[in-house]
């Protein structure tokens, strides 16, 4: 069964010149489609400007798409005000938690917003249990917690309204690697327990290989390659996927042997005009998969 379906999503932004006049447009998201089966983990990999954050914002209802549709369990969520089905965990828990609210108060915000009527204190305690934090953390402030603990609170807050889908936007990139491993373990455990579906947005391909089942490589607003993560990484078809994989710093000879051998671009990144030309090339050459 499909939990999330994204259909031909498009979002363009106007480009303004120095005088505020519209001089063109950027297609930030350019016809993106994918589906995530219930309980699955879909990884969206891309660099800055690829459109991954715009896609997350549209799924969260923070940005309206120009065209296309977003369906959860077969029902379009565009235009719906109630969005308890989708929740988000942000990159930097230091910035996404209000420093003046206790952990309990932060978790209470979505509960109250969605009209939770039961025992609030008990629910907050249960949520803290779920993310393996002591129940008495409800009375602590974010500055009393470590980075990993803060991210656990952010996860508890996202789970407060029992969502079906979690959008994870680089959830561990601000954390140390040993802390990252434990947060990923927790997300996997919660996914199994609660039957959650994850959209995992990251630029860390090694992490993606270990966490996602299916991966979409996003480049200039388009998914240039998609497939089972093991297959895409073993046998990348698109030049950009090869470049990404070749760029990953790795720690073992086996991984190094797996990286495609391509001469890394020695000069500067392409200019806007060159990107346009590149994109024209991409439009002409559709991905193999």
């Amino acid at each position: 069964m499909t939990a999330l379906e994204i259909r031909d999503l498009v979002k363009t932004y106007p480009v303004r010149n120095a005088f505020g006049r519209v001089s063109g447009e950027v297609r930030a998201v350019d016809g993106v489609s994918f589906t995530i089966p219930a309980g699955g983990v879909y990884g969206l990999a891309g660099e800055s400007g690829s459109g991954k954050s715009t896609i997350a914002r549209m799924i969260m209802g923070l940005t309206a798409p120009d065209s296309g549709d977003i369906l959860i369990d077969g029902v379009s969520i565009l235009g719906q005000r109630e969005r308890a089905l989708v929740q988000m965990v942000f990159q930097n828990p230091g910035a996404s938690l209000n420093p003046r609210r206790t952990v309990g108060q932060s978790i209470l915000v979505p509960l109250a917003a969605h009209g939770f009527a039961g025992d609030r204190r008990g629910r907050i305690g249960d949520l803290l249990d779920m993310v393996h934090l002591p129940r008495n953390f409800a009375d602590r402030y974010p500055h009393e917690l470590s980075g990993g603990q803060k991210q656990r609170v952010a996860i508890a807050r996202a789970l407060a309204v029992s969502p079906r889908l979690l959008v994870l936007d680089e959830p561990t990139s601000a954390l140390d690697v040993s802390v990252q491993a434990r947060v990923i373990d927790l997300l996997e455990e919660l996914g199994r327990q609660l039957g959650l579906t994850y959209l995992f947005i990251s630029h860390d391909l090694s992490l993606m290989r270990n966490f996602a089942q299916t991966v979409g490589i996003l480049y200039l607003g388009k998914i240039v390659e998609t497939g089972p993560v093991a297959q895409v990484f073993q046998d990348p078809q698109h030049d950009y996927t090869r470049l990404l994989l070749a760029s990953v710093p790795v720690i073992s000879a086996e991984e190094a042997a797996m990286r495609p051998v391509i001469p890394l671009i020695n000069g500067e990144m392409p200019t806007a005009e060159e990107l346009m030309a590149l994109r024209a090339g991409l439009n002409a050459k559709e991905p193999a998969r």
Partner: protein, 273 residues
């Protein structure tokens, strides 16, 4: 031959609000002439304090260096008069900072910023260069860091450059003073992975071509493997393990290093436990 940089038993404590914390507990490490050495550790391990102590950038107080030596080219930096210390900093040893935006002055052109450093370096090295000579050297060093159009970059303000270009400007800055030791603090971590790969390759090529010694400070084990031959692993203010990079990654001896390496996700997928 003795090492270019040799830190011996460095101990540093921090005192804030009347409480004292031992931050470095006898750290020893060596960077031989022309070697590529990495210092790796997680947040709070003490790697940045070590780096700051070497560069002489520790604020004292709250910090207090209460033991050890930092030998650079046969001289102990900790007992050197401040004047001589300042003369070494940014000349014999140069630093590439992590955050390219906050390390550049937003209202000066790249050429102005590089020229300032060049004048300083020339004075230290007793070189005489006129304006045209300085401009030529600035353009030359920008070309060395593989700017495609060095003239245009020289006339640009930081905001007009991409993150990768700014990082390369910082490397150019470090090179201007013709250092013998380059200390790099997490270069490229704020950048996209393809850009980071370019930056690391550039650093590697430059260090090799010019015979510089490199001390790479990072939390990323992948970056360690890509840029160094020898690695020191730090945890809680101590060096817990050291050795040639490849060997240490293949067969870590200490439990801490083993756990750290096991926590790194692999491009090849999960390792069987």
């Amino acid at each position: 031959m003795s090492a270019l940089l040799s830190v011996q038993g460095l101990s540093v404590s921090f005192t804030t609000y009347g409480r004292t914390a031992e931050v470095l507990k006898g750290v020893s490490l060596e960077v031989p002439q022309g070697a590529q050495v990495a210092l790796v550790g997680e947040s709070g391990s003490g790697k940045s304090v070590t780096m700051k102590a070497i560069m002489g950038l520790l604020q004292q107080p709250p910090a207090r260096i209460h033991g050890g030596k930092i030998m650079f080219d046969g001289r102990d930096l900790l007992t050197l008069p401040e004047r001589e210390r300042v003369a070494l900093r940014g000349t014999a040893m140069s630093m590439v900072f992590q955050d390219p935006m906050s390390s550049l002055n937003p209202v000066w052109t790249i050429e102005d910023q590089l020229t300032t450093i060049l004048k300083y370096a020339d004075r230290r090295l007793g070189r005489d260069r006129d304006r045209r000579g300085r401009r030529a050297r600035v353009i030359e060093v920008l070309a060395q860091v593989r700017m495609r159009d060095p003239e245009r970059v020289a006339g640009s303000y930081p905001i007009m450059l991409s993150g990768g270009m700014r990082q390369r400007v910082l490397i150019a800055m470090a090179l201007l003073s013709e250092p013998r030791l380059l200390i790099a603090d997490e270069p490229g971590t704020a950048l996209d992975v393809t850009t980071q790969a370019q930056i690391l390759k550039l650093l590697r090529d430059l260090v090799e071509a010019q015979g510089l010694a490199l001390l790479m400070i990072t939390h990323n084990l992948g970056v360690v493997r890509e840029t160094s031959n020898y690695v020191y692993v730090m945890n809680k203010g101590e060096i817990v393990e050291e050795g040639p990079t490849a060997g240490l990654f293949e067969a870590p001896r200490q439990q801490y290093t083993r756990d750290l390496i096991a926590a790194v996700p692999r491009l090849t997928g999960r390792v069987a436990p």
